[in-house]
Symmetry: C2
Subunit: 499 residues, 2 copies
């Protein structure tokens, strides 16, 4: 038994090494790759993906799993490891090779078409590709689990164990509350944030980013910051987790908060410490996309945009901002970086309206997958939903249903994770505050370590051993409850906007 377990772990670790090497190839592509190196890099990535897949689907793994699953004398950790391994092995082996290669081919065509369609504001050109991606996702879902509703199977790929019905119930409450808060804010005078548009050089912003990484507790021995067109976090090794940011010279908060956001993701990856027996295995993976997002949102928004946090750091920020914050009071800065205003683009939206952008996508993609919404009707449905929930008129598809890359990549079921992340974060935050009465005082004194330590202990080190629903129950004592998030928003924004 011990021998079979060791064999399984060794195979798993080799697969992890290959995937870390793949991550280096990807990181380098986004940061330093010379222009002409791109074509061959695609071959490197395909080769490594192929090697990692070969390792992941070895029949030997299936045999080892079958043997070990029959064992009775297993520790809790061993059981969890077998559960995770079985799940991933099934996922990797159940898809027919023909479907996998057809998806790869169509995804590449679809993404290229989306880039053009977005550029030319031409939904019609993208529509046939979107139909193909939906069709392939239906095939994928029934290959993975022919007995479950397709959208549930797709959701499960990102938020393990989740079902559309449960998410829809949670989102209904959330939607109602967010619309209400947004309306309350609309009735009040808007905050001024013009001082945030003053020029701050990339060099100064880079110093700020390094400062804030350290401030939230990012371990620079185990990672680093570089620049990329789109900020991301990537794991190149158990002790090598890298983040990127970008410097917008006429809006420096963009880099500050994206750095803190990515640092939140990275600190989660750094905290996936399952001990030496299972390090480097699938057990040391994240619990889910939404739990990952809860960590980035916790640091970016709940802590990073709090008044306490800026009480500690505003005095250090002003001298780094090349004069752009001279004469700006802490209170005004705080209100400026928390300005709420319904707008067109999800990725640029504020903490309140963000959730509504996501719910809209959840509702539309679920309808697309079920067939109750035809691809050709997507733009009109999108624009209607934007008008109804956010009160915003969509001027063109480029800033409407063509704005996100996800569907063009065939990622259906992914969007809900973003909003679930906010809900988990707020629920963790409520539990953390209750358990550590001095928490906000520490943050205001410049010490974020009590928050990080709590997250490490209650969330990070559980890694993939628990389902997201089990994790939130264990860490907070109750199941997912969206009221923590809306209560948090109500308290924060009623103080800012005075409603």
């Amino acid at each position: 038994m011990i021998e079979a377990m060791n064999k399984l772990i060794a195979l798993d670790r080799e697969r992890t090494l290959l995937s870390h090497i793949g991550a280096l190839l990807g990181w380098d592509q986004e940061t330093y790759l010379p222009e002409a190196g791109l074509d061959e890099r695609a071959e490197h990535l395909a080769l490594m993906e192929g090697l990692a897949h070969e390792k992941a689907v070895k029949p030997e793994i299936g045999e080892l799993l079958a043997t070990l699953e029959g064992e009775k004398d297993l520790s809790t950790q061993e059981k969890a490891y077998l559960r995770v391994s079985r799940r991933e092995y099934n996922k990797e082996t159940k898809l027919p090779a023909s479907l996998v290669s057809e998806m790869a081919r169509q995804t590449s065509l679809s993404q290229a078409a989306w880039v053009q369609a977005k550029k030319n504001n031409d939904f019609k050109c993208f529509a046939p590709h979107l139909s193909t991606m939906i069709k392939l996702n239906l095939e994928k879902a029934s290959a993975l689990n022919p007995d479950a509703p397709c959208y549930d199977v797709l959701l499960d790929l990102y938020e393990i164990g989740s079902k559309e019905k449960a998410i829809a119930e949670v989102f209904a409450v959330m939607k109602r509350d967010l619309v209400e808060i947004l309306e309350a804010i609309r009735s009040r005078p808007q905050s001024n944030d013009s001082f945030l548009r003053r020029r701050v050089s990339a060099a100064a912003q880079s110093k700020m980013s390094e400062y804030f990484m350290a401030a939230v507790g990012f371990d620079k021995r185990r990672g680093r910051l570089d620049t990329a067109a789109h900020p991301f976090t990537t794991t190149l090794g158990g002790d090598d987790i890298r983040i990127t940011t970008r410097y917008v010279e006429d809006y420096f908060p963009s880099s500050v908060f994206s750095t803190i956001h990515e640092a939140g993701h990275a600190m989660y990856e750094m905290g996936l410490d399952v001990g030496p027996d299972f390090s480097g295995t699938r057990l040391a993976d994240a619990a889910s996309m939404a739990i990952h997002e809860s960590q980035s949102r916790m640091w970016e928004n709940i802590i990073g945009r709090s008044l306490q946090f800026w009480k500690a750091h505003y005095g250090k920020t002003v001298p780094m901002a090349e004069g752009s914050l001279d004469g700006v009071e802490l209170e005004d800065f705080y209100k400026g970086v928390n300005r709420v205003e319904a707008s067109l683009i999800r990725t640029e939206s504020d903490e309140v309206s963000y959730g509504l952008h996501v719910i809209l996508r959840f509702e539309l993609e679920s309808a697309l997958i079920k067939g109750s919404l035809a691809v050709k009707d997507l733009p009109a449905a999108w624009n209607d939903a934007m008008r109804q929930t956010l009160g915003v008129e969509v001027p063109d598809d480029r800033r409407g249903c063509l704005q996100d890359i996800h569907w063009s990549m065939g990622s259906f079921g992914y969007f809900p994770s973003y909003a679930l992340g906010n809900l988990y974060a707020a629920q963790f935050w409520a539990a953390m505050k209750e358990q550590i009465p001095t928490l906000e005082g520490s943050i205001a004194a410049g010490d974020c370590s009590p928050a990080l330590d709590w997250l490490k202990d209650k969330v990070h080190r559980e890694a993939a051993a628990l389902l997201p629903s089990e994790l939130v129950q264990k860490a907070t004592g109750s199941s997912l409850d969206p009221s923590h998030f809306t209560a948090y928003l109500r308290k924060k924004y009623s103080a800012i906007y005075g409603f």
Copy 2:
């Protein structure tokens, strides 16, 4: 036949992709890897090396080679490809796995012991490891070719087709001439180079390096410059060749010339253009270590330290040098960067004495391999040779026989390449000047492209198709002749030192 050739090429290309991925792992380790990521990186490298080796020794390759070698209807390029492939396949398959793994193990121990020995100036602690490395190299040589003298077999690993006897003859002439030139310089007043020791910031030196890369013709679309503790060039893809440099703040010429040196290596790699049929195969490799070195030395020394070159670029350099060159005349700058002075350390030595450092190592390593010099007697032999050829007293082994890493890594037969590189470069230069009468005028006008074009045409695009001896014959019309190098030195340094 076509099918067998295509199959061989496909296998070869996959091996190349793996080796390029390994190169990225190595590049990243020297440039950006976070401190704590080092341990896992060693595992990544070992894994990729294993995979590349697996690909390289596939019995299928042996079968394909045997089939194709029996064919009569082969093009010149196909014949060359089979020759190169056979040579590499034999090299990779002839070593018993037990010897390969023992060498890997002992090399790692030996290198660690060398680091300590150098630090503590303690040759005795390193001596047993050096004996082991010699013993393993003897085993390696007889596994590769039991019928040839061991040192010839080792030389052949770096300078294909070379023999100790021929090198010794060439080096004898070179040694006599270098000693003579060095003595002539010693009899004359020394140049002043104190202005080169003035502080220039790393940021300013980085701008200079980018300027000089472009000036010599480095294509930044196909490569980039970063910083590392020890400058190097590495090929991460056919169109992704990267160089590194380091910034010594109180001696900026160090980065300028190391950047030009590495750019010379990189431009060679960029020029290994064997056409689409054999791109990405072993035919697109360098001809040899010494040919590689001839390209870096050509750009660093023959062109990069020439008066013509600085006529074009000194005016642009002064404003980049943060005031350190204000009031310094071109002539004095030129003499400063060409100051000759026998000294202890090979890597810091000038163009004239460099060859003597290498010849000394050649003579000693050949004696060590033959057993005519005992390991315990190495320090004394080293110090005697330094006294006799360079007129320098060695104060300790750290600055004597422990200075270089090569022997600790088991690289015997490598050193001669460095000096052969100088000889090839000077011979190429003489031919180039004869064929392009306007060459030096172009360089003085800031246009290095005639030189680069000549090198691309006569040297680079031959890639691995010719042996170094064939390449020099074809490019220059005669076999290797050390008198080009010493004539070049005599002309240059008699003008500088007035002898």
